[in-house]
């Protein structure tokens, strides 16, 4: 596998993959969610570099703009809004102790399985491995024309999907009428969240009236 010649691509690969792996481990293992987000950014950059190495230039750019630039920012916004930068005890003892080892085993098994499958399958591919195709095949114009001819249905439907997602997000995050506004009544950090009753249970006219009165005042 590594019998290929050591050229510039190899070096790029080594560096970028190191970044990706370190970033991945960082995402999984950080206590602080903000640290996780930053590790994610690093990983995404590494992936973008790898895209460039494979001559998928357009995708690399899109990756940086959309993923690193928008999605991770979104994550950070939410983290900010909710103030969940509290440390999570990553190494807590699970209630079912066998879960964590099983998770690791599953993950490793998945990796091994996938790898072996792919490697075996690709080794059975007949025909000469083609040389690198001309880069014009992968340029934006070609990508665009394929997108709008062969995959036009999928394209349109994904647009609709995005619209729905936006609408959904707005609907989901609207404050319901009479709900307690967290800005007015910030939650008690000492309170055990499991004890807190569901706001729907507090449908007492009393409490609701009190709230409304407070707000009105």
């Amino acid at each position: 596998m590594l019998a290929a010649t050591v050229n510039s691509e190899t070096i790029v690969w080594i560096i970028a993959s190191t970044i990706c792996l370190l970033g991945s481990v960082g995402v999984v293992g950080s206590r602080n969610p903000v640290h996780s987000a930053l590790s994610l950014v690093a990983t995404l950059f590494g992936v973008a570099v790898l895209f460039v190495a494979q001559q998928a230039y357009f995708l690399a750019v899109v990756q940086v703009i959309v993923y690193a630039g928008a999605i991770v920012i979104l994550f950070l916004f939410v983290i900010m809004l909710l103030g969940v930068d509290s440390q999570e005890d990553v190494w807590f003892v699970e209630r079912r102790i066998w879960r964590r080892p099983l998770a690791v085993v599953a993950g490793a098994g998945l990796a091994v399985g996938i790898l072996v499958t792919i490697l075996v399958v690709t080794s059975q591919v007949t025909g000469t491995p083609s040389a690198d195709p001309p880069s014009s095949d992968f340029d934006v114009a070609n990508l665009g024309s394929v997108l709008f001819t062969k995959y036009v249905y999928a394209f349109e439907i994904t647009s609709v999907l995005l619209t729905i997602a936006v609408v959904g997000a707005v609907v989901l995050t609207r404050k319901a009428k009479g709900a307690i506004d967290l800005d007015e009544f910030p939650p008690d950090p000492e309170a055990d969240p499991a004890d807190e009753a569901d706001p729907a249970d507090e449908a007492d006219p009393e409490t609701a009236a009190a709230t409304v009165d407070e707000v009105a005042r």
Binding site: G113, T117, V121
Partner: protein, 655 residues
């Protein structure tokens, strides 16, 4: 005329339908007239078919009419078919004829009963079932009728069911019959397996053709014997018949004298080619009949209830029929069946008339000298007495004598059977004479009855058609009355038939053997009667036996020369304790066995079912824990599943 065959059972069925829908509106007595009319019409239809058969030559006297395919399943093709041949038409004639007379009688007898129309509903249903039984072209249609008469006899015996004794009697009849039905069903299955068809023509052809081996034939016949034993009240399944006297008297007359109890004998005669192949089964039939006749006669001697005497007498006479069938003397069996129907129905209806006139008191010790008050009843009853006792020239003599003669020529055991029959005939004459003397002659014993203070409160006039029939209304100053014409006309008709019925098959010349020639196509192996001189001697001995019985009874009951209690032993009165033994067994060890079975059913069977349910439930509770609601748990499940799938694909790659 052959297409009228289906009318014969259909008309009573229509009558049943009418009673079902509008019986209560028709009321007393119109419902009774409608029912009687239906049965009388059925009788006319039977007569029409009879004449049709008569007009044909002997070989053609067998008409089959199939209404529709009843059960077409695979190889089993059972049609709802009727077979009209000499045997079945004979049965139809006397079932519908006597049936219509009894219907007429019931109009008067059941007058004033609150469930008047229901009685006729059941009666019509019964006639329908009996006709299906008799006209059936195959075993299954016969079984339909068989079960139908069993059910109707339950309904009718327990007609006054508010008294639990009557209800129990009905149940006893049905359950005892059921034991017999078990035999019927097994025999049917066996027949189907061997012959492949349930049609009588096929079965009999197979028997004649030799395709039913001796062992199989014997097995089938023995099972049918079990069935006949239940239905015709032979030992050991006769215990229901005396209890069945709890039903109204017309019921006793119709069902337990003339029709239902003869269906067992009919079945055996119908299958006579099969019987011929059956070897020792015939001996079994004959001996069952003989022993039953003897035992029942001894019990009848010491009964005090007027109907119970007749009940045991019926059992005894049915024993004679079985004796005839067992000795291969089928014509004599049918002959005696017909004459017995005449005189036994007569006797039962006569006793009903007496009961009616004596305010429903059935104890003969309270009777006496009733011929002064009920002359017609007395006269007809005396005719019946003479007929059953076997006094020539009444019909009973000819038929009974033919049976005894046939037994004599049956072989070595035949002589013994003949002797048993003779002794039974003697006892028959004895107890019937006793009954006649106690009822119609002598002192008016009810005048000496002490007035029970508890009964003084009840209104005697009320008891005329009371639902209970103990001596509620019998007071010393009671004046018995003759019954209305609806009751006496059937008595007279039956008395006439009982007198001249012997004409059916007189032994004097071959030309007079009407019944024998008539039944010839049905009976495959005619029975050889002894030569004429022997016949005359045997007849003389039989007559002597009858007269001896009468004289003895006279000596005991009229002249009081012998103490009755010497003869009326306790063991006879208690029915040789057979019934008591059954009750003890089913109540005692039998019940324990039943309880054990019930416990087994509860613990093992129910336990298995409930245990399975409990097991499933516990499994469900445990599986519930999979649904923890924890998303991460689910995710873990997905991951593990994905690994397994990848593993599977790896194995499929074959690397």
């Amino acid at each position: 005329m052959e297409h009228l065959i289906w009318l014969i059972p259909a008309l009573p069925l229509v009558g049943f339908g009418i009673q079902l829908v509008g019986g209560r509106r028709l009321g007393d007595p119109r419902a009774g007239w409608v029912a009687t009319g239906m049965v009388a019409a059925s009788f006319l239809a039977s007569v029409a078919v009879f004449f049709d058969l008569l007009s044909r030559s002997e070989e053609e006297r067998s008409i089959t009419q199939t209404l529709f395919q009843w059960i077409p399943v695979g190889n089993l093709r059972i049609g709802m078919g009727f077979l009209a041949d000499p045997l079945s038409i004979t049965m139809c004639l006397f079932v519908t004829g006597i049936g219509s007379l009894i219907h007429l009688y019931s109009i008067g007898y059941m007058k004033g009963d609150p469930r008047y129309s229901k009685f006729f509903l059941y009666l019509n249903l019964f006639i329908f079932s009996m006709l299906m039984l008799v006209l059936g072209e195959n075993l299954l249609v016969t079984f339909l009728g068989w079960e139908g008469v069993g059910a109707c006899s339950y309904f009718l015996i327990a007609f006054w069911h508010t008294d639990t004794a009557n209800a129990s009697a009905g149940k006893k009849a049905f359950i005892t019959n059921r034991v017999g039905d078990w035999g019927f069903m097994l025999a049917t299955f066996l027949t189907w397996t061997v012959v492949g068809s349930l049609n009588y023509s096929d079965i009999n052809a197979a028997a004649v053709g030799g395709s039913i081996t001796g062992v199989t034939a014997t097995a089938i016949v023995v099972l049918f014997l079990v069935a006949a034993t239940g239905k015709s009240a032979q030992l050991p399944l006769f215990v229901w018949l005396p209890d069945a006297m709890a039903g109204p008297t017309p019921v006793s007359a119709l069902i337990h004298a003339a029709t239902m109890v003869t269906s067992g004998v009919y079945l055996l005669v119908r299958l006579n080619p099969l019987l011929f192949e059956a070897g020792w089964a015939n001996d079994a039939i004959a001996w069952v009949g003989a022993i039953t006749a003897l035992v029942a006669a001894t019990i009848a001697i010491s009964q005090n209830d007027i109907k119970k005497v007749l009940a045991y007498s019926t059992v005894s006479q049915l024993g004679f029929l079985f004796l005839a069938v067992g000795t291969g003397n089928y014509v004599a069996a049918i002959f005696h069946m017909v004459t017995h129907a005449f005189f036994k129905a007569l006797l039962f209806l006569g006793s009903g008339s007496v009961i009616h006139g004596m305010a429903h008191d059935q104890d003969m010790r309270h009777y006496g000298n009733l011929r002064r008050y009920m002359p017609i009843t007395a006269g007809t009853f005396i005719v019946g007495w003479l007929a059953i006792a076997g006094v020539p020239p009444f019909s009973g003599f000819w038929s009974k004598d033919e049976i005894l003669a046939g037994a004599w020529s049956f072989g070595p055991s035949g002589k013994v059977l003949w002797f048993i029959g003779l002794v039974t005939a003697l006892m028959t004459a004895f107890y019937m004479t006793r009954q006649v003397v106690m009822t119609f002659f002598g002192t008016e014993r009810w005048r000496e009855v002490e007035l029970d203070p508890a009964l003084a409160a009840t209104d005697p006039a009320n008891a005329a058609h009371a639902d209970e029939h103990d001596h509620h209304g019998l007071t010393p100053d009671h004046e018995p009355h003759e019954s209305p014409w609806t009751m006496t006309v059937p008595l007279v008709v039956l008395a006439g038939l009982a007198t001249v019925g012997g004409v059916l098959n007189l032994p004097f010349a071959d030309g007079l053997h009407f019944l024998e020639h008539w039944l010839d196509p049905v009976i495959v192996h005619p029975h050889e009667l002894p030569a004429v001189p022997t016949l005359v001697v045997l007849a003389g001995l039989a007559t002597l036996g009858a007269l001896l019985g009468i004289v003895l009874a006279g000596a005991v009951y009229v002249r009081r020369q012998v103490d009755p209690s010497l003869i009326e032993r306790e063991v006879f009165a208690k029915g040789w304790y057979i019934d008591w033994a059954y009750s003890w067994f089913t109540g005692g060890p039998g019940r324990d066995a039943f309880d054990a079975t019930a416990r087994f059913d509860q613990t093992v069977v129910d336990g298995a079912v409930n245990g399975t349910a409990a097991l499933v439930q516990r499994a469900g509770v445990r599986s519930r824990r999979l649904q923890s609601g924890q998303v991460r748990g689910y995710a873990l499940g997905i991951a593990v599943g994905a690994v397994l799938m990848v593993g599977y694909f790896m194995t499929r790659m074959g690397f």
